[in-house]
Symmetry: C2
Subunit: 205 residues, 2 copies
């Protein structure tokens, strides 16, 4: 059985929702960031990066959200979570998710994780101040890319839970989601999905 | 015919080498960063992100290196650039490339592109000072992950040109590649590949 390592408030939610969408049996294990469990020897043996998410499979452990989402879509084709038989459409899905991972998540991370890229308190404060601007710029582009009602158009894909996960962070980043009407509409529609509610219930348990 | 938009010294090299590895016909167009051509109306119509690489196909334009590399591997299966028939192995390839994109490239970018995430000169200098440390930490992990002789073991994959592209930046980042023997060996073996030499010749033309 697949086992997903998660922590509340992190990007692990995208994989968690996607697992719930597949209809497969899975287990969830919460990693306690308050006690720095992500850097404990036990967890580092699972994921040497000391981060979540990680997905334990019968073949080994996978990390990195875009790779995990594509894997779940390919492994559970009946759930129709990506256009896996259309090379270009699949590449568009992957491109969107790669942008979320390498640009949008990274922009957000400069609010609380400035120590990853700098050493001085003044730099951390400077980075933090810029987050509303960078996140707004990212979401202006996403607003253009979002075809509606789902990211890729009529069909729900693995882009949707990932966008929802990051859009959740906008309020804390002092960005008004209503400035991006398609994103705001998408967020509401995602919130109502049973898989999203299942993932939140499992996180709260 | 596929057309790749590139600029010397950028991560576009990974896709460029991969195109050369496919054996397919392709065109290369250099975007002139010195004149800020990447933000010209003409180029923004191709790639609204104002970045390279971008790959123009008969179906539309693709961006984001991990997505483009997977697309090329799937589109040209005879070139055997990824284990596309083994879901888990393919996910491992994607995970490695996602790590290069979202963590390693991002760490490097803090040397010259600090303005993306901060506003003060002092922050830029602070970020720049930390790059040798962050890139060393990334390559310590890569040294563990690299199976040898290629990233994924006996078979060359789309991980290899991407790692080579980023490993090229180590010297400028004040990191000694010889601290990472497997990476250094990989770098030499990559440099000798005809596809790499073809890409460099096309960039210099």
């Amino acid at each position: 059985m697949l086992k997903l390592y998660v922590a509340p408030g992190t990007c692990a939610l995208a994989s968690h929702i996607t697992l719930a969408e597949t209809g497969a049996d899975y287990a969830v294990e919460k990693v306690d960031f308050r006690t720095n469990q992500q850097n404990s020897p036990g967890y580092l043996a699972i994921n040497p990066k000391g981060r979540v998410p990680a997905l334990a499979t019968e073949h080994g452990v996978l990390t990195e959200t875009p790779a995990m989402l594509a894997y779940l879509a390919q492994r559970f084709p009946k759930a129709q979570l990506a256009p896996i038989d259309d090379l270009f459409a699949f590449a568009e899905v992957q491109s969107f998710n790669s942008y979320l991972c390498s640009t949008v998540h990274v922009a957000h991370a400069h609010k609380m994780r400035g120590h990853r890229w700098a050493s001085d308190e003044s730099s951390f404060a400077d980075m933090k101040r810029k987050v509303p601007e960078t996140m707004s710029a990212c979401f202006s582009l996403i607003e253009q890319m979002l075809r509606g009602p789902w990211v890729m158009g009529e069909r729900y894909t693995i882009c949707d839970p990932y966008l929802f996960t990051i859009a959740q962070w906008l309020e804390g980043d002092s960005v008004d989601i209503d400035s991006f009407p398609k994103v705001a509409d998408h967020f509401k529609r995602m919130s109502a999905r049973p898989a999203v509610q299942k993932a939140f219930a499992e996180l709260a348990a």
